[in-house]
């Protein structure tokens, strides 16, 4: 492994954060708020540390798989670290732990916050929070690939390290083309949503920050009451549509935009994902109506928004879901675990793995009936390879195992069981709000510092799809220096 090559690419990731911090500085300066110095020094730290390796290390033609993986994981970790600097320097509710939590939550597009009074933050910092979502949503490394198309062979390695096999499946193209497709869909969706929200009556600042948070399936709002602040069915409808779109595979979205809408509907994962959302909305609407009797429309309105928000791992809120009936809460918990499709910006186990899991379950039952039969698991009209099948089932098992261990840790730290479990799965799935004391109308600020560190670890594990981070922590990963 060549540390100098890794340093070069991690430096580039830091420069990306620096660029967005400078943009946030401009907003801070224009608004005359007190976040300017904190953002300015943050940009200086990110810029100088990012620039130093570029001065020494010449461009690297090819990265090994190990180097690529290390670049991806270190880019995430160091970006989160540098991203916390403006929060630390601004002070207020941001202790070191809180700043780290907010930064990791931003970059991993989790959207969980420690803030009880978001509106008290200067505009520059609010923009920075939203920007961390946008950078993280596309994956810091994919951003680099989009910004620096001259990476050559290194680009392919970084893409393979950043995006899972499932996410790459719908993108049958050269790595540069893949990046271009993802980039166009990402920017296109952001611009379209910003325009629509602006037309619907949001200020330009709110439209941009909320679009950043929606397309990245993040969930940071610039208001204490999140989307409920606007109390506008039109705004909620626009955000709901874009949340659902952002949960789809970007390759399929690109194909649909290019005219191949049938590809979108032909995908069994997409059908499962949309059907799951529809069933979730129906159950929540029904249970809210049965409890409150406040009319079908108000119940449908909040249910549709909250189910889409949680089911796409966004995490915006228009209602306090901690006060919802048990059935509706269970639907939300399931959605928190599953989330949306691979190849999107969402987190969680992902609908693709659930489809494979369902297929494996059905196959097992059929295999019991026909012990000698050769029965493949089907997905997208093709039999699923043994490797993908094993990886998917192992991922689900590991995911749930880590969620249980983290829940245990949080409970040991004095967090009640519902908050501990829902908080863990909400952070690990990069969803944001959980239930109980960490519900959609609450925040994570009251949790003990150690619990916040546990939750940031689950956020990173969820974002990096577990194995990348575990591999980096394995001593053997660093010991073997050959093979590039």
């Amino acid at each position: 492994m060549r540390p100098q090559a890794i340093l070069r690419y991690v430096g580039l990731a830091l420069l990306l954060s620096c660029a967005f911090m400078i943009l946030s500085c401009c907003i801070s300066y224009a608004g005359g708020d007190d976040g300017l110095l904190a953002l300015g020094y943050g940009a200086l730290v990110a810029g100088l540390i990012g620039l130093l390796p570029l001065v020494f290390v010449p461009p690297v033609r090819a990265l090994s798989a190990k180097e690529g993986l290390t670049v991806v994981v270190l880019s995430w970790l160091l970006s989160c670290l540098v991203g916390a600097v403006p929060y630390v320097l601004w002070g207020g509710p941001f202790s070191l732990t809180n700043a780290w939590f907010e930064s990791v939550s931003g970059y991993t597009t989790t959207g969980s916050s420690i803030l009880s009074h978001i509106e008290g933050l200067p505009r520059g910092l609010l923009f920075w929070r939203a920007a961390t979502h946008w950078i993280g949503g596309m994956g810091i490394v994919l951003f680099m690939l989009a910004v620096l198309p001259a990476m050559g062979m290194s680009g392919g390695v970084l893409l393979r390290s950043e995006a899972s096999a499932l996410a790459r499946e719908g993108l049958q193209a050269h790595s540069q083309q893949v990046v271009r497709i993802l980039w166009r869909v990402y920017v296109g969706l952001t611009l379209a949503q910003t325009g629509l929200l602006w037309i619907c009556g949001m200020s330009l600042f709110d439209a941009v920050t909320h679009s950043f948070a929606t397309i990245a399936t993040g969930g940071f709002s610039s208001w204490d009451r999140s989307i409920a602040h606007f109390d506008s069915p039109l705004i909620e409808a626009v955000i709901t549509v874009f949340m659902v779109l952002s949960g789809l595979h970007f390759g399929l979205l690109f194909a649909a935009a290019a005219g191949a809408v049938r590809d979108l509907w032909a995908s069994d994962v997409v059908r499962y994902y949309l059907a799951g959302l529809a069933v979730g909305v129906a159950i929540c609407t029904l249970s809210l109506q049965l409890r409150d009797g406040s009319g079908w429309w108000p119940c449908f309105r909040v249910a549709a928004f909250q189910v889409a928000s949680v089911g796409t791992s966004t995490g915006f809120a228009t209602a306090d879901t901690a006060a919802w009936p048990g059935a509706a809460q269970l639907v939300l918990l399931f959605m928190t675990l599953q989330c949306a499709c691979s190849g999107s910006t969402s987190g969680g186990i992902k609908a693709d793995r659930m489809v494979i899991f369902g297929g494996a379950f059905v196959r097992h039952v059929r295999q019991l009936m026909h012990p000698r039969g050769i029965l493949p698991v089907w997905r997208e009209g093709h039999p699923v390879g043994r490797e993908v099948l094993e990886e998917s089932l192992l991922y689900i098992a590991t995911y749930l195992g880590i969620a249980l261990v983290a829940t245990l840790a949080l409970s040991a730290l004095g967090v009640d069981l519902l908050s501990a479990f829902s908080g863990t799965v909400a952070t690990m799935g990069n969803v944001g709000p959980g239930l109980g004391s960490v519900g959609s109308a609450a925040n994570f600020g009251h949790l003990p510092a150690a619990a916040k560190w546990v939750l940031t670890a689950t956020m990173l594990l969820g974002r990096l799809e577990i194995f990348a981070l575990i591999l980096l922590l394995t001593p053997g990963h660093w010991r073997d220096t050959a093979g590039y």
Binding site: Q4, L7, Y41, L48, I49, L51, L52, V88, L89
Partner: protein, 254 residues
């Protein structure tokens, strides 16, 4: 990029990070200092004045009681001394208005005190009022309580402001430490990265060139210059190779 500039860049990064953090911390510390001065100037003196006014009022009340008991000399002396103290500190507080609502409160204190003073200014000893506890209770004590309540409110107003300012000083002090802390961590990271890069691209390159020169002096020379860096050190390695080949050619010619 020239080698000199590359080496300087590392130190420049460290210097800029430390300089900016240092200036920021100094500025924050100065503002903490001025906030502490503000607490003293704006709040503490008003609180002290209010405390002195309450003390003076209580002595005036004792003076009135002495007059009620017929002790004219002691009573008048006590009242005159306390009145002087009260007026002195009331005037002081009026010159030190710093909190919103303080001026209005002081105005009402002056009015209430004038009213209270008018009650005991008139003769008491050798008049029907001497020993008249009912008159004291209904006319004097009520007015005394009113002034005292207002003065206590003045003290509380300044105490609240003092608490707020002290809290903001605490936040500012914590803020003042943070740029330094971030700078320390950032500089440590830069030092580690810079040391590695210097080691890899400068020290290792020099050692390889030295090894190359040693090999050349023994008559052996690699065909390729194996250096990751470009620039002066790469040129130096090439010059060594050229020199070796030239000396080899000269030796062959000889």
């Amino acid at each position: 990029m020239p080698l000199r500039l590359r080496i300087h860049s590392g130190f420049l990064v460290l210097a800029v990070l430390l300089l900016v953090a240092g200036v920021w911390t100094t500025w924050e510390m100065r503002s903490v200092g001025s906030s502490v001065q503000g607490i003293l100037d704006e709040n503490y003196r008003s609180i002290h004045a209010a405390t002195m006014m309450v003390g003076a009022l209580e002595r005036e009340d004792s003076g009135v009681l002495l007059l009620l008991l017929g002790q004219w000399t002691e009573g008048r002396a006590t009242l005159a001394a306390a009145d002087s103290v009260f007026n002195e500190y009331l005037s002081f507080a009026e010159r030190n208005v710093t909190v919103a609502g303080e001026a209005e409160l002081l105005e009402s204190i002056r009015e209430q005190y004038t009213e209270y003073r008018s009650r005991w200014e008139r003769p008491i000893v050798d008049t029907p009022r001497q020993g008249d506890i009912d008159w004291y209770s209904s006319e004097v004590h009520g007015a005394f309580e009113e002034v005292r309540a207002s003065v206590t409110a003045l003290a509380e107003l300044n105490q609240q402001s003092l608490y707020r300012t002290a809290s903001s000083v605490e936040i500012r002090a914590s803020r003042a430490v943070r740029p330094g802390l971030v700078a320390i961590l950032a500089c440590l990271s830069v030092t580690v990265v810079f040391s590695f890069l210097l080691q890899h691209y400068v020290v290792t390159a020099i050692l390889r060139i030295r090894e190359m020169a040693r090999e050349a002096s023994c008559g052996r020379m690699p065909d390729e210059v194996l250096l990751e860096t470009r620039g002066e050190l790469y040129d130096l390695a090439n010059y060594v190779a050229v020199l070796y080949r030239a000396s080899l050619a000269a030796r062959k010619e000889a």
